[in-house]
Symmetry: C2
Subunit: 360 residues, 2 copies
Amino acid sequence: MIPHLYSVVLAGGSGTRFWPASRKSMPKQLLAIGPDPDCLIAATVRRIETLCPPDSTLIATGAHLLAATRRALAWLPDSSFLGEPVAKNTAPCIAWATWEVLARDPDAVIMVLPSDQHVGDPESFRRALTTAVETARGGVITTIGLEPTRPETGYGYIEAGGERGPGVRRVERFVEKPDRARAEQYLASGRHFWNSGMFFFRADAMASAVRRHLPDVAAALDAIARLPVGERARATASAFEAFPSVSIDYAVMEKADELAVVVASFGWSDLGSWETAWELADKDPRDNAAPPEAVLIEARGNLVRDLRSDGRRRVIALVGVEGLCVIETDDALLVLPREQAQDVRKVVEELQRRGSSERV
Amino acid sequence: MIPHLYSVVLAGGSGTRFWPASRKSMPKQLLAIGPDPDCLIAATVRRIETLCPPDSTLIATGAHLLAATRRALAWLPDSSFLGEPVAKNTAPCIAWATWEVLARDPDAVIMVLPSDQHVGDPESFRRALTTAVETARGGVITTIGLEPTRPETGYGYIEAGGERGPGVRRVERFVEKPDRARAEQYLASGRHFWNSGMFFFRADAMASAVRRHLPDVAAALDAIARLPVGERARATASAFEAFPSVSIDYAVMEKADELAVVVASFGWSDLGSWETAWELADKDPRDNAAPPEAVLIEARGNLVRDLRSDGRRRVIALVGVEGLCVIETDDALLVLPREQAQDVRKVVEELQRRGSSERV
């Protein structure tokens, strides 16, 4: 355990990239789509439990996801769950969590982690987190940058500057998803790292930054803290209605004098698509990732997932097909080439257009 | 109606070519896999009902298929159904049906029809049947040969000789499925026709032929006819055990002095595979045959069939795929390229190897 460490796991999201498994009411972090048998958020919390005990772990999620999220993390105390009354991007949510943590521990250091990523090497991951926490304890907002292994155009990058310490560099700037040519340059540069979306800060430092950059949010959170416990939920709900919808990057981080980045490499993936799920999955000698009962004849490089809940045995047979994703849920079946995995969103858009709201 | 006409619809079979829709207990003729909303056997019986009334229509099926077949043909009287105690190929079955018909009408003409074919032009079909029945009434066993429209290698052919009458020729010989080169020759020859598997004969002529070529079968059927009605079923069962397993082609037709063929063309298909089902189906402008609720994005030439019985609404989404068959039943899902539709049997073989007998 790291003293005074709190984690805030961001578990909002309405991911469409894993349709038909993911839905508004069942976003990606609640699914076991990685190689882990647990759902992604459970794996995330398990991965840090030697650094941060359950009662120092906060889960920030949407009010409509609160029940399902609690079920996925049944071993966490009720006080771990922050159900955002209204989704207002990351800044109001992180500010709220910061106020909650400060009320418990004025010396807290907070790490904010996405709930839906894959980590191939948890030991290295925890070493990087420990370095980032210790860096943040010095007062600087700290991120983790992953050493790129390919010219990925699907991630944002962090451009790093000079060293601040062993494995820690200054952040020069954040870069949006690059085109292919630029991604090739980044890969060769040794100065660009994938933005993991994790960040680390002292709670008091973040509170000061919120007071400076989002004074109305700070004032509202102060007022709520002074209320009797039983009145806080309603006050929080009406406060969130008034909060601006703004990201922590824009509201706070880009305005900081200095940011640090811990450069690391721990088999990270954002698990961004069915293609990535296939890449990470166990595969047979013909590169199929499929349930053992599937019948695969002259089939190569396919991802087959049977996510139905009814427990009826079912044969999925693929003959002579290559590079397909075949995903089954109780009320939907998706067939698309792995290489077009991003186009799942087109299905979701079409269903929305048809008014099939229960399917998206 | 044609006087003294009886039909015998052959409805045995354990087709694997439409797995997962077809099973041992649910062969092709009980499925609505053609463009018709009825199952194939119901469409077959409906197609001839202006020629042959229900009580002159016999359905020869396996004992294990009797209940399902009755349900599919609920408007036929009980006396229409002949449940073969043991499958013994076509000769014993047709002999049995012939004895049944002769007991009702000594002047009967019988037409034997497969139960699982598609007919695109039922009017022309009935005209051809009428010609064949009138030819058979003269005493000659008569078949129907379809004018080939392509060098099909999946059908047997009838080689025709000289004219016997308008649209009726002598049969020179029957030819097994040809290779591609030979099929091209047949297509060009004007003398080769697809063997439809339909044939027509006088009941008394067939009985004489059975007495001559299958005397033991004839004797057993004579003995059964002399029993009280209540004892016939058991006697038939034990008689069938002893019958040889032999086709009517081999046992009778090849030994006939003369056979006639009515040459016709009525949009016939043996509906031999999912590929054929796609060819015959209504298709959208991108050549997809799919339920209206399917979501098809950049998808071309696919066949999608949702044959689940549970009635739960389900979205089937295909993105960016071409020429696939996607077939869903309650307990199986099949994905294969249309062009490999014949390879469905490999799935059935694999399931048999695994001992998944309930799936085949």
